[in-house]
Amino acid sequence: MDTVFDSLIPVLGSSVRLSIPLLFACFAGLFSERAGIVDIGLEGKMLAGAFAAGAIAHHAGNPWAGLLAAMGIAMLLSLVHGFASITHRGNQIVSGVAINFLAAGLTALLGQAWYGEGGRTPQLPNTARFLEITWPGAETARASYGEIGNFYANVISGHSILVYAAFLMVPLTWWVLYRTRFGLRLRAVGENPHAVDTAGISVGRLRYLAVLVAGVLCGIGGSYLAIAQSGGFVKDMTAGKGFIALAALVFAKWRPFSAMATCLLFGFLDAAGSRLQGTPLPFIGQVPVQVFQALPYVLTVILLAGFIGKAIPPKAAGVPYTKDR
């Protein structure tokens, strides 16, 4: 049995990879909810994005084409969400549920119709994927610089470009939200759309922009799943990540850096759970697999209840905007 420390670094590397889809979906939710549009359709949009990425990367033989397609399709679904919940003031949760169903159904339907592999897209060659980038000196570092070198090689180096993009997105989002006109208005429209309206800014336009940004990010998240982390789309491959991302968002109280930390934590729990599974724990002995499976959920509940206090969402989130009384 290796020591806990030996396995920590690989687990950290794995945490980073597992947290990326959460990170994209969570930030998509952040933009959307900060603008007052609740989005439980993150899951569906990410799924549709993953499908588009898998399919188009296959046909074009190029991951960038896949990425663009993924963003496009996720934005299209965002527009549907916007049309229902912004233009027609429908219930945002219902619209999100519909989008989740729609994405689940259509990806499987089209996948089967086009490729006949049960909703899967064809296995992609490496040229059509975002591959892991090994940073200079990673191998020598691993070999000769002990734990630090190991950390460099495993955690810093060796991820696909989308991973680095995700981490770049965090400060960028912060900057957009707190330092730009768009961000100021976005935050305002989620708190008090009346104020925005009377300031002469179109509430609808802002909210559409926000959901489109959410679409772009879901598209990238989906691409990561399908053409970076795996070699193609698989039916239902988001496996609830959109929902976990939503939990992370609440957990982070709709703030960018906390959101990143939360997604990393969830990624870590997932990775650690897999890693610890099957290894007897000191003092406790063999623990059923289910315990590790349940760990992230239980922890979320406990942390939500005990440590982060009351998470107050943007005040206008989920409420359709009307001028009427």
Binding site: R181, L184, A188, E191, N192, H194, A195, T198, A199
Partner: protein, 533 residues
């Protein structure tokens, strides 16, 4: 200003002989607006001269806010046109209005509460894609305005931590930041203390003197008399009359508003206080952050008297009432009803014991707006056995109660089956009053009973309160209107900084009471502390 009421008013800075050359800043021609079945504005014509303060009065629901919102581009008129500086303009959005130099301070503030003052001010007028420069500009402007107009606010304070008066200042600053030439204020003083109102009017006068145009909506006729140059009266969606203010009088305006003569002061006999029904001993209340908001308050309210609590808004009056009503927990001290200790009891129990509460915010607290009249009539009394048979609600009993109350208080329309949201403000207040007063409580707590309510309804509500007193009940009244307190109360307590700093009789000069409210004079013998938040 020659009107006698105006002289009484503390704001004497207004120069009544202000000469206004006939150059209209704004002209409204044939403005018509319907909301479904409601005809909110009926073919309204109005000329607003440049460099004047133009007052608009009218009962609740007369259509004042609607008209102003049309001018500000928040709503679109069904018919009619708008001229700015003699040019016909299309105002399709607030952006257009702002572009034509129109700014508005809404009845409900349009501020983002989680934002800082600075962020609120630049919102929508950022200029650059980045907000840094706009913030700098706004900061500079704030500094200048703070000097020029004594319009002081901390630019980095989060709006939700500001007092109502300060929030209003932010609204005005917002308009000025956008370069407004015409400033619309919708009931700006409804939530202000006399001193704050005074301050506001000084600013408005100064703006007017600099050539800006001010449109002022208010229910307080004395304010109209004191500071406006012109006054227009609206009734049921129509513009009834426009007078130069010096040709108008409070009585004439009131009559034009309501269409009949109104009593401005309800007659009441002397009070005959009996034994104490409500006593409060050393009550201290802390807010969730642990700040003391009511500090060691002690007093009694006796049968057959109305005790008024005067004070600048935010000095603990609301919290005091809420603590007595059982909505807010007190940290120390005790409250007794008929000599029985009721500290810590919940509102339902207190109602059973005969303590009723007419809350200051009817829409957020006193009513459930989406519920119909029937259901609102039992709010708080849902556990009363007359309204329920076993598990089920007794619909018949509720219906007959609602009918009685609606008829007795002349609630219009008299149909309790309508959602509360559909009633106008005055009528909503009547529903709440009817519910609380007609239960014949032995003690009634009343907060701001006539805030935003028109003259006709004020008269009615005041009468009911005096009736209740005359039946030997105890009433504790909180109001931001010093006039109201002086008109109704038999005894006045003054609160400042969470403490009761003085007690006096209603005939005490207004200036004395004002001094106490400001915490300057302390008639209770104790040191008055300034209340800082």
């Amino acid at each position: 200003m020659t009107h006698p009421d105006a002289r009484q008013f503390q704001t004497s800075m207004v120069d009544g002989e202000h000469q206004s050359r006939p150059m209209p800043a704004i002209e409204l021609v044939g403005i018509d607006k319907r909301f479904g079945p409601i005809h909110a504005n009926r073919a309204i014509d109005l000329v607003i001269e440049k460099g004047t303060i133009h007052g608009i009065v009218g009962e609740n629901g007369a259509g004042k806010s609607t008209l102003m919102s049309i001018l500000y581009g928040f709503y679109q008129a069904d018919r009619g046109k708008i001229l700015v500086d003699g040019q016909e303009v299309a105002i399709a959005s607030s952006q257009d209005a702002i572009r034509h130099g129109i700014g508005m301070v809404h009845q409900q503030f349009m501020l983002v509460e989680t934002f800082t003052v600075l962020e609120n001010i630049i919102l929508g007028a950022e200029g650059d894609p980045l907000i840094g420069k706009a913030e700098k500009r706004a900061r500079a402007l704030l500094k200048r305005l703070a000097q020029d107009y004594n319009l002081k606010v901390d630019p980095d304070a989060v709006v939700s931590t500001l007092s109502v008066g300060e929030q209003q200042r932010v609204e005005i600053l917002k308009a000025l930041f956008r370069g407004a030439e015409t400033l619309i204020l919708d009931e700006p003083t409804a939530v202000l203390t006399p001193a704050e109102a005074d301050h506001l009017f000084r600013i408005l006068a100064q703006l007017r003197d600099e050539g800006k145009t001010v449109l002022l909506i208010t229910h307080k006729l004395r304010e109209i008399m004191a500071i406006t140059d012109t006054v227009s009266v609206m009734r049921h969606g129509e513009m009834v009359v426009t007078w130069p203010t010096r040709e108008a009088s409070v009585e004439r305006i009131a009559e034009a508003m309501v269409g009949r003569r109104v009593l401005l002061q309800v007659a009441k006999g002397p009070s005959l206080p009996g034994r104490a029904l409500l006593s409060v001993d050393h009550l201290t209340v802390k807010d969730p952050r642990g700040v003391i908001v009511v500090d060691d308050a002690s007093f009694e309210v006796r049968a057959g008297e109305i005790v008024g609590i005067a004070g600048v808004a935010g000095n603990g009056q609301s919290e005091l009432i809420e603590a007595i009503a059982g909505i807010r927990a007190a940290s120390t001290g005790r409250v007794s009803l008929h000599g029985k200790d009721i500290s810590g009891e919940d509102p339902a129990t207190l109602r059973d014991l005969g303590l009723a509460h007419l809350p200051e915010d009817r829409q957020k607290v006193g009513l459930v707006l989406p519920f119909d009249g029937y259901e609102n009539v039992i709010l708080g009394y849902q556990d009363d056995p007359t309204f329920s048979s076993g598990f089920l609600l007794n619909r018949k009993a509720i219906a007959s109660m609602a009918k009685t109350l609606f008829a007795g208080y002349d609630v219009r329309p008299g149909n309790p089956g309508l959602r509360a949201a559909l009633f106008s403000g005055g009528n909503q207040q009547k529903i709440v009053c009817a519910r609380e007063i007609e239960r014949d409580p032995s003690v009634l707590l009343v907060g701001q009973p006539t805030r935003g309510v028109d003259i006709g309804a004020i008269e009615f509500i005041h009468k009911r309160l005096i009736d209740l007193r005359d039946r030997g009940k105890a009433i504790l009244l909180v109001s931001a209107e010093l006039d109201e307190i002086r008109g109704l109360a038999d005894r006045i307590l003054v609160m400042c900084g969470g403490r009761i700093v003085g007690e006096c009789l209603p005939d005490r000069p207004e200036s004395d009471i004002g001094m106490m409210m400001a915490g300057i004079a302390d008639l209770s013998g104790r040191e008055a502390t300034r209340f800082d938040r």
